[in-house]
Symmetry: C2
Subunit: 213 residues, 2 copies
DNA sequence: CGACAACCGGACCGCTCGGTCCGCATGAAC
DNA sequence: GTTCATGCGGACCGAGCGGTCCGGTTGTCG
């Protein structure tokens, strides 16, 4: 879709687009979603107008980058499944670990998980399908508490994100991470049925998007 | 300190101060920390200048209100202890439930717990002392996993806050709350020693405040 | 090489927010 | 009732944001 028909972009334009994307990734990782467009353009060595020629709005850039995140998460899920074929709980644990690392090293992703940015519906669908896959071995082995659903795992990533960031901009030292991963994972494993009702992020995003439209 | 020596405030001034505080409480509850000063003044039926005559800065108002929060939390802890004298886990559970309710119904408090606002050192100390008290019965009864510390309970409140707010401004229906409370509480209860190291919020706030000064 | 379209970037706009200023109103003391 | 310090609020300021405009530049193609 980026370079389909019509004549291809001029060489400098294409190069600048790449630099903008890279600069945005770095800036968002460090400063979170609300780094200014000007800051991103400056890092890319480009004028603000050049930015807005590529992306009609800042939101459009965020969406473009979010697609990368989705791909990365899905890749991590595949890897977690491949590397833990012997341990039923392994993929889920590896996925949650990956989520903690990502949230720790990418402030914008953290905020996305904390849902300050509501992603397009189909991206949430893709992520949640992956979540379903990563928890399946544990469920099949009967390790998960009866009633644990994909929404619970999604919530677990949010809980872990909140756990490793005690204060604005301050990250818990990595030595503390296993502690909270262990707490959450212990809470999902066992025989006691889950109480209450589960919430499904896909349904929520759909509802939210519908109400916004 | 508010009305010590010097001559007392004029009657209208005192009345307006009270209205500002009340309006701020409501506005912060609904809109979070970043409702504008103008909005607060408008709700109080007062000019913006009147606001800044009472509080040198918006931050000063936040601090003043945060003291109320601390008192309320400590009150809830006392109540949780008093009403659950028979159940060793009861006070801790009641405290976490209270924390969920408070975070759900008060957006500003949520953000405070998420540490977008870093409170003064001594307030954190008072809160954490209360946390220590509320977990003591469970610890004494040997219900808590070896190594669980007050920082873990503090983290638990943050995790639960993240769990009940799936997306910006959207609250999970209350039917889902027990589910996540159960997950977290299950993760803190048992025989397995806690892995990793614990983090202490008091130390962190101290460190943070020192680095900011 | 020449010409043109695509592209560039800095100046600019409109908006919001925290915070200030100043002319006017008013409660309190006599 | 008179006086005046205290308090009042709307107009104002400067900074920073997302987004636009236009005169100059540059890649590309014949």
């Amino acid at each position: 879709m980026t370079s389909s028909n019509a004549l291809p972009m001029r060489a400098d334009a294409r190069r600048n687009l790449e630099r903008i994307l890279q600069a945005a990734r770095e800036a968002f990782a460090e400063g979170g979603m609300d780094v200014g467009v000007e800051e991103i353009a400056r890092r890319a060595g480009v004028g603000k107008a050049t930015f807005f020629r590529r992306f009609p709005t800042k939101e459009a850039l965020v969406t473009a980058l979010y697609e990368d995140f989705v791909d990365e998460v899905l890749g991590a899920i595949d890897q977690a499944l491949a590397e833990n074929a012997d341990d039923p709980l392994g993929p889920l644990r590896a996925f949650l670990e990956h989520s903690m690392r990502t949230q720790a090293h990418n402030k914008a992703f953290f905020e996305a998980v904390a849902a300050r940015y509501v992603p397009p519906v189909e991206m949430t669908d893709r992520i949640m399908d992956g979540v379903e896959r990563v928890m399946e071995p544990a469920r099949a082995a009967g390790l998960l508490r009866p009633g644990v659903e994909r929404g619970d795992v999604s919530t677990a990533t949010k809980m872990l994100g909140a756990a490793i960031r005690p204060m604005e901009g301050l990250l818990l030292c990595e030595a503390a991470w296993p502690r909270y991963l262990d707490v959450v994972l212990s809470g999902l494993v066992g025989d006691t049925p889950m109480p209450g009702v589960a919430a499904d992020p896909c349904a929520m995003v759909r509802e939210f998007s519908a109400s916004s439209a």
